[in-house]
Assembly symmetry: C2
Homo-oligomer: 239 residues x 2
Amino acid sequence: MIGSGGVQADFCTTCTVRPNSVCSVIEPGDISRLAEVAVESIVPPGRGFIEEGAPATDFFNVTSGTVKLFKALPDGRRQITGFAAPGHFLGLAVSDSYAFGAEAVDTVRVCRFSREKMTELLDDFPKLERRLLEEASNELVAAQNQMLLLGRKTARERVASFLLDQMHAGLPPGQDGNGGRLHLPMTRGDIADYLGLTIETVSRTLSWMRAQGMIEVGKGYAITVLSVAKLEVLAAGNG
Amino acid sequence: MIGSGGVQADFCTTCTVRPNSVCSVIEPGDISRLAEVAVESIVPPGRGFIEEGAPATDFFNVTSGTVKLFKALPDGRRQITGFAAPGHFLGLAVSDSYAFGAEAVDTVRVCRFSREKMTELLDDFPKLERRLLEEASNELVAAQNQMLLLGRKTARERVASFLLDQMHAGLPPGQDGNGGRLHLPMTRGDIADYLGLTIETVSRTLSWMRAQGMIEVGKGYAITVLSVAKLEVLAAGNG
DNA sequence: CGGGTAGTTGATGGTCATCAAGGGGGGTGG
DNA sequence: CCACCCCCCTTGATGACCATCAACTACCCG
């Protein structure tokens, strides 16, 4: 993990994800305060930067790339609890240790804030706290959806739900992306750990969807959704 | 659902769960503000008081009893995302409609706040917002644990985890309850919907644990945990 | 006594995990 | 440049775990 001090005054001014992140609530005049406490890091693919159970010293803001968040059992079984896209805020653990691990899926850039600096910011900018509450509430809704998926949906329903989620991810509401073309940065193993399945089941299910004419599976990490309607029928629980 | 206006000045002063709830951050001198906007309701067992998808007009604070929170699929499959004990705050939906339903398990009393009154309170008492963020963060941690359970644990591991959670629920940390004696207010069906299992599997698993000498299953809703250690081995993933 | 709900236990089957084999792409080193 | 390896993915065969279907008991209330 490469760190570079955020001492430049324009560090946050030029940040492309600021409009989508919690930082957007800081007024332009106060942005320098933000830049003073932010440290940018680049995390290579596969590298972890939050260890489950370790002391929670920092908060993070993803500025580019995709991060996987996960919990693990002693024997190695792993559950990915979410993927964090640019703009996502990480580290909302109240206790003094992280309740989850975080690892870069592809090349990731994050802004790091120390816990104490963050507390100062919260004291000075009440809007920031409100924004964090909003962020946390959104995550709670997502978590509840995921619990429904993990507890009650079949493999096909899970994969369909996942593909639909990915189509809407990172897009403003009401937009449907570019013709259903997806570029998933994560491996089949990651998808499996996210959906509570095995690699083989994910692979088989995607193949089945391809045979049904619902999707096209391209090279690398490309998937094209051909029929959103069919996927929605599946995801809603008819499959 | 029976409503009674919270116009009494001592309404919140005498509230037994205030120390454990978000209301604790309101200074004694300002408690009247709280009492003005709170409306107490009594909800009989099995009655729902938050409907998934309905406009989110109110916030709730559980003052006695147990509430189940759930999401459902069109065909009736249901996932209980959590049980809310006294002191628990409900309704943290950012969007304008509830993302989940809520239903009384046993007889429940709740304090209801209208959304707009709550917003006023948040403006006047910044501490309240911080407390809510704390509450939301705790729920997120619980949600992540539940995702691990639903996605990666076996039936036995799930039931063991559930029983252990119930032993610690509603107790201050470091306390181990009264000799492992539990009084679960929810039915086998509720437990099944919470753990992503069926009624039969929950029942069979409890019978198996009884045969192993881990628990005693009493009449009604009583369960006595005889060996916390064995359950912990199971819950951690050796079963 | 009859009906309804909740729980337990048994028999059977389906869905998905596990075990196993093979293909394809990208990297490194000869 | 090609051989080699490793990782990721796919596909097949088998089996385990848990859902489903079903019967029965206990309990509560009218």
